[in-house]
């Protein structure tokens, strides 16, 4: 009897909800709450409203997304997931395995996403063959930034190999300039590490080590050279680096205290915000070696009930990958559009370099996910690698011990 009543009530509720269809609805969980990022999200919000949708904003700041993930966990466990959530990389697949993601293949196919997104980036947006997420941007991680005046004054060109970099750094050190501005936080150590690894191991080696977690590659002599180079770099940072935030390191390059910084292209935003011009005040180049490490932000679509929410989800997905949003958002954020057919006239020279390198790497098979920014591996494995990298960088551990620990830590994290 009870179940009959319940059935009748939920039936009524269904009728009521479809009768009250008020247009597309979307609740969006994200952690883009700081100045430029908030502005970028507002663009999407306006566009969504202009298409008749009603947007419920759910910003959860703090901990680089940790707080938002905790909120998401609570929402999913209570059976009331948000429409779309800022998620990236293998985390999308992890949530898919929990059985809570929606299928948005209809929109993706109608909009022809497969033709406009680079194949390896599109791969992150698919869950067992169906589309389940929409990409927002492409950050390049393997950048090296430099103070143009400092390089010129010391007669140094942007280095194209790690040996050149080391030679330049020694010259700078002799001249009393800090060669490498670095912040000693685990994720920054990991960022430098993967740039070095890409240069030394090459695209194939990088893929084997940080995507396939191949034990032989993790223990290889190549990996030892990577750790050797990390030890060399340790000598090029100032003694005061532990705990420093990345933007303070960028400021050191800006004011000429330091010459180089290895950091993703969010650093460009700092330079631009300080009124510096790319090519004149600061220089950008890929770190020595071939390849392109990407960090792609995306929105994963969660399974929701009700036609208005589903319509909102479809509309949202369409707008996110739409040309206008991809352009405006990325102009604000310093990254480049994920779709390759957006006109880049309004973008700066570093973004042009990024876009042309992305296209070239895509063809050459060296367009790779960043491990340090959670694109290549799941949290537990990526964290295990970072633990070893940061322990090595902050101690006098030998490269032999480091590769041994790396292999053990990865095995232990499974």
């Amino acid at each position: 009897m009870k179940s009959h009543v319940f059935g009748a009530v939920s039936g009524l509720a269904l009728v009521a909800s479809s009768a009250a269809y008020a247009g597309p609805e979307a609740e969006v969980l994200h952690w883009w709450t700081s100045g430029g990022e908030a502005k970028s999200v507002a663009v999407l919000q306006e566009e969504f409203a202009a298409n008749g949708g009603s947007w419920t904003d759910m910003p959860v700041a703090g901990g680089g997304g940790d707080a938002a993930m905790t909120a998401l966990r609570a929402r999913v466990l209570s059976g009331n997931a948000p429409t779309a959530v800022q998620l990236k990389g293998p985390a999308i697949q992890e949530w898919y395995e929990e059985g809570v993601l929606a299928d948005i293949s209809a929109v993706a196919e109608a909009e022809g996403w497969a033709d406009v997104l680079p194949a390896s980036i599109a791969g992150h947006m698919m869950c067992e063959g169906t589309w389940c997420a929409a990409p927002v941007n492409v950050h390049r991680v393997d950048w090296i930034w430099a103070n143009a005046d400092v390089l010129e004054a010391n007669g140094i060109a942007m280095p194209s190999s790690w040996d050149e970099f080391n030679a330049a750094a020694q010259k700078l050190q002799a001249a009393g300039i800090i060669p490498l501005a670095h912040g000693g936080q685990a994720w920054q150590d990991a960022t430098v590490f993967e740039a070095v690894a890409l240069g030394i191991l090459g695209a194939d080696g990088f893929h084997k080590a940080f995507v396939e977690l191949d034990e032989a590659t993790l223990k290889s002599d190549g990996m030892k050279s990577v750790f050797d180079q990390m030890r060399t770099l340790r000598g090029f940072v100032d003694p005061n680096f532990p705990g420093r935030d990345w933007n303070l390191a960028t400021a050191m390059v800006m004011n000429g205290e330091a010459a180089f910084q290895i950091m993703g292209d969010w650093a460009k935003g700092e330079f631009l915000a300080a009124g510096k011009a790319p090519g004149e005040d600061f220089l950008c180049a890929s770190t020595p070696g071939d390849g392109f490490l990407y960090n792609v932000d995306s929105f994963a679509m969660f399974a929701v009930d009700g036609s208005d929410k589903m319509a909102g989800q479809q509309l949202l997905a369409k707008l996110i990958v739409g040309k206008n949003f991809q352009k405006v958002f990325n102009l604000n954020k310093g990254s480049i559009p994920a779709r390759v057919d957006v006109a880049l006239d309004e973008f700066d020279s570093c973004a042009h370099l990024s876009a042309s390198d992305m296209a070239a790497s895509n063809e050459g098979g060296s367009l790779l996910p960043s491990y340090a920014h959670g694109m290549a591996l799941r949290g537990a494995q990526a964290g295990a690698i970072t633990d070893v990298v940061t322990a090595h960088f902050n101690s006098d551990m030998s490269s032999e011990d480091a590769v041994q620990q790396l292999a053990t830590a990865v095995a232990n994290s499974m």
């Binding site: 680089g64 707080a67 992890e94 936080q185 532990p242 705990g243 990526a382 322990a391 830590a409």
Partner: protein
């Protein structure tokens, strides 16, 4: 009816909080113990897999560091805070004129949150900004105090900041204890010509045993749950040299989506607390009964 109420009112009054503690403390301890036996990743799963999470935990060098740091930090923090607190309390107890003002000054750090303490000490200890830069600026070029950027020494900076924060509070506890000692006994001892230090070591301090217990319990739980201080002061760094079990657990549960691992580390933390606090409580409570 009144009689029944009289008999049962205390129980009725306590029932809600009893139920709350049962569910929210012991219930969740049981839940955590269960989850620590599973392979939970992003979301909790409930199929028991055995002790795999504990094996992973004890194979992790980072957990090793965290647990060692807890021992170093806990031991130094508790011992030094009690010693300093007792010393300051005894000095303040000498009937000095500005006692009120000095007591307030020493107690003030307790009014700050650990985050503020951590951030302030981060700047004070930073070699390029704080103490070292200042002394070098005075002309002592070879002065060096770079513990906070030295992986082997960084944990001691956490001890320094925690001591600065908590010693004043321990002092206040001990001061209250000193004042509660019967003045007649002290006077009698003075009449007998016993030196002051003997009065303290033989009469006053032994009679303050319950205060030592309270101070120990307060400091021990501050040490074990220490989290915000490390996050603000060193962020667990350099590397993970200043990780504590609490920061390890946070990283696993909230940054890495490894709930099973976080649960097993929480269980080990609880075991450490029990191992230290239970025997102490037991011996203290029993000796009180004997009196």
């Amino acid at each position: 009816m009144t009689k029944w109420l009289e008999d049962h009112l205390p129980k009725l009054m306590l029932a809600p909080s009893f139920v709350a503690v049962l569910v929210f403390v012991y219930g969740f301890i049981a839940w955590t113990a269960w989850v620590s036996l599973t392979r939970s990743r992003l979301l909790p799963k409930y199929e028991i897999e055995g002790l795999i999470q504990y094996e992973r935990l004890f194979a992790s060098p980072r957990w090793d560091t965290a647990l060692n740091n807890l021992y170093i930090f806990g031991a130094l923090f508790i011992v030094i805070a009690m010693a300093l607190g007792l010393l300051m309390a005894i000095l303040l107890d000498q009937n000095i004129r500005t006692e009120g003002a000095i007591r307030t000054i020493y107690l003030y750090p307790m009014a700050l949150s650990m985050i503020v303490t951590g951030t302030a000490w981060k700047w004070i200890l930073n070699p390029g900004l704080g103490l070292e830069a200042m002394v070098k600026g005075w002309g002592f070029e070879r002065f060096s105090f770079n513990w906070i950027v030295d992986p082997d020494m960084a944990i001691y900076t956490v001890v320094i900041a925690a001591l600065w924060q908590s010693s004043g509070f321990v002092m206040a506890l001990f001061l209250a204890g000193l004042r509660s000692v019967d003045g007649e006994i002290i006077k009698a001892a003075q009449v007998d010509g016993i030196p002051t230090w003997r009065i303290y070591t033989a009469i006053i301090i032994p009679s303050m045993a319950p205060i030592f217990l309270s101070a120990f319990i307060v400091l021990a739980h501050l040490a074990i749950k220490s989290f915000d201080l490390v996050i603000a002061l060193t962020g667990g760094g350099p590397g993970f040299a200043t990780d504590l079990p609490a920061t390890y657990m946070y990283a696993m549960a909230f940054s890495r989506g490894d709930i099973g691992q976080a649960a097993s580390s929480a269980m080990v933390m609880m075991a450490v607390v029990f191992a230290i606090v239970v025997p102490y409580l037991y011996s203290e409570l029993r000796s009180q009964k004997d009196d």
